[in-house]
Symmetry: C2
Subunit: 396 residues, 2 copies
């Protein structure tokens, strides 16, 4: 379809095994036919993405241990659910993938344990906000083991995982999912001499061109510019990848476009809880040596008397002196069972107010009188985001 | 409680009947004791609000015809529902109050007719967006009469309304609600010489002081500054009133605060539909003589494959040349019965992204790469607001 409609010669099941920047060519292997050849290029675009991290511990290659990144990898987990009918799942890692998989296992009525190396789940949040998520994980009936490190897997005679061993205990497991983050797929281009940035991600400029002229890159394999810290960062998120791909495509096609960078905005749903953040968190602000103030308020997603009003906690971080907004975090909804059908988690999408203000470089005093939408089903008279802004101004 | 805790001498059931700016005093009447006296002031704050408009047509004072503004007025309607058990309601006016009352009558299983003078309901929206709301009103089973003007009421021998007469037909009615907007309560202060602005609202400066030194005003009785048109406007909304009241209070208390103005942001829920707007609409832009482009896109409130994904229509208006964002309108959800429990209407709260960008004075090209929150339950990879922004940029 692509070849016919767009004039693009798409080759699936073909792997690039080597990149030759001197002679501007790539070594291609046909995974079906086992042929190999050199393919010349004028311009090269790298979109190799990232791969889930699998720690080098004993038993990590046993059957029944999964990572989840592609559609295909999700189908594999579902097939294992149908075929082996596991009764007990252990999830390693309490980030986006870990929490989403834990929820999926709960919905399938498995016993679920979650192991996280850090003192909280969602460790991209400040500890006070992360604690709200940890509480909710326990409330939904998950055995939560914080501050515990995966050390090995016990494998049965059938080659299938039987248990997970941490530094503190052994947890029986019929199925294991690893949600330990991703690493950029940059080995091949690094070997060829394309410069890398932080965390092994490919360094690119605002137009998404790498350090090598005519070689472009976008998505989970590249480094990003953080618009608040003004330093390099690594963000592997679909919405960023998509925006970067658009910019790279315009430039490769002879146009001109720039990508301004990222705020690290992210959002996730765990059962009836919505969790979102944007900008810098406390530890990042401290690492930059900035003086800051924070405010955390507990409010309501709707007018307090409205039937579906749910709890929302908003934290705002701002710079002392300048009053510049630095970041924000939201936890909304929760305290209800998986199947309750409450959509209170949607209120976490209010993070977009803070993301827009951050990208516009607003000061918190400029945000105080933001003319946000109010009607009882949607918000209290003062939106919880503005209540948090009012609060942080007092501490500046 | 107020007197004890805050040192404020609150007198309910006392009416101010005259304002004497020369001698800095107000004439007070005790509605219980029928006493009257002059009360002196150093500083005066006017928070007289607004009153629902009642047209001077025959029968308008009949029993069974209601306006809804205060809590008390809502209780009166509910009491009438319980006592007279009306089977057929007629609502006049298709704005916020009209639509909310129509929904309330539907939930009480009444037959509902809605009469609107303009060619669409929600006539603060552009016609193409308003048509989506009119369609939903009909889909929910309301008899909708557009382009029809209320001319009189027919009143029964018992003094109770029996029917509503328009320029085209007679509509039987057991109960009538008028949702025809409000008028600022400014007669008293105008007689005393306090200068008024547009639509009879009290003119105030950025600190909420009227044209008379030491006389302050805030809320539904005052004129506002529109931050996009940079012209006076009249907005009677609780969230604006509350923000203005805070600014007036700080200034009256000897502090210093300013109110930057309004964007005209508003939101409402009609059954499962959310309707929101901010900034200028097409007719307002044309009246200002600005050159503009618009884009209207139909998207999804969540990833298209996500179970609860609902329809969302976003319209964005931007200035040609400068690329400045001018306004936006959102209609989300809909096409489901009153009791479906769908919360898709909440997606209209995305208007806050546009409101924040407007208040920050962003150009649409600056908004293109806004780092908004994405995860499948919350949004497509490109938020519908950004898809509309992309679209409008092409027309600039």
């Amino acid at each position: 379809v692509f070849r016919r409609k767009q004039g693009i010669d798409v080759r699936t099941r073909h792997e690039v095994t080597e990149l030759d920047l001197e002679q501007r060519r790539v070594r291609v292997r046909d995974l079906e036919g086992a042929k190999e050849w050199w393919e010349a290029f004028d311009l090269l675009h790298i979109a190799t993405g990232a791969a889930p991290f699998v720690p080098a511990v004993a038993g990590a290659d046993a059957a029944g241990i999964y990572t989840v990144s592609t559609l295909q990898s999700g189908i594999r987990v579902r097939r294992a659910m149908d075929e082996r009918k596991p009764r007990r799942a252990v999830v390693v890692g309490g980030g986006h993938v870990g929490l989403e998989m834990a929820e999926a296992f709960l919905m399938r009525e498995l016993d679920v344990a979650l192991v996280e190396m850090m003192p909280q789940v969602m460790n991209t949040l400040d500890p006070d906000m992360g604690a709200l998520v940890s509480d909710e994980v326990r409330r939904e009936g998950i055995e939560l083991y914080l501050d515990e490190r995966l050390e090995a897997f016990e494998v049965g005679d059938d080659g299938h995982v039987r248990a997970l061993v941490t530094n503190r205990r052994t947890l029986p497991a019929d199925i294991v999912v690893l949600g330990l983050g991703v690493r950029p797929n940059s080995d091949l281009v690094a070997q060829a001499g394309v410069p890398l940035g932080i965390r092994g991600a490919i360094r690119v400029n605002e137009r998404m061109e790498t350090g090598i002229e005519g070689v472009w890159a976008a998505g989970d394999c590249v480094e990003s510019f953080h618009m608040v810290s003004r330093q390099p960062t690594y963000v592997a998120l679909g919405t960023v990848a998509n925006k970067q791909g658009r910019v790279a495509g315009i430039n490769i096609g002879g146009g001109y476009a720039t990508f301004p960078g990222v705020l690290g905005t992210s959002i996730t749903k765990f059962c009836s809880l919505g969790v979102a953040q944007t900008g810098l968190r406390t530890s990042e602000i401290e690492a930059l040596g900035l003086e800051y103030a924070t405010a955390q308020i507990e409010g309501s997603t709707a007018a307090h008397y409205y039937p579906d009003a749910a709890k929302i906690t908003v934290k705002v971080l701002a710079e002392k002196g300048s009053g510049r907004l630095l970041g924000g975090q939201i936890v909304a909804g929760g305290a209800s069972r998986v199947d309750s059908g409450s959509d209170a988690y949607l209120a976490a999408k209010r993070i977009d107010i803070l993301a827009t203000a951050l990208q516009a470089g607003m000061r918190v005093d400029e945000m105080l009188n933001l003319d946000l939408a109010y009607a009882p089903p949607f918000s209290p008279v003062w939106d919880p985001v503005l209540i948090a802004v009012r609060q942080v101004i007092k501490s500046l």
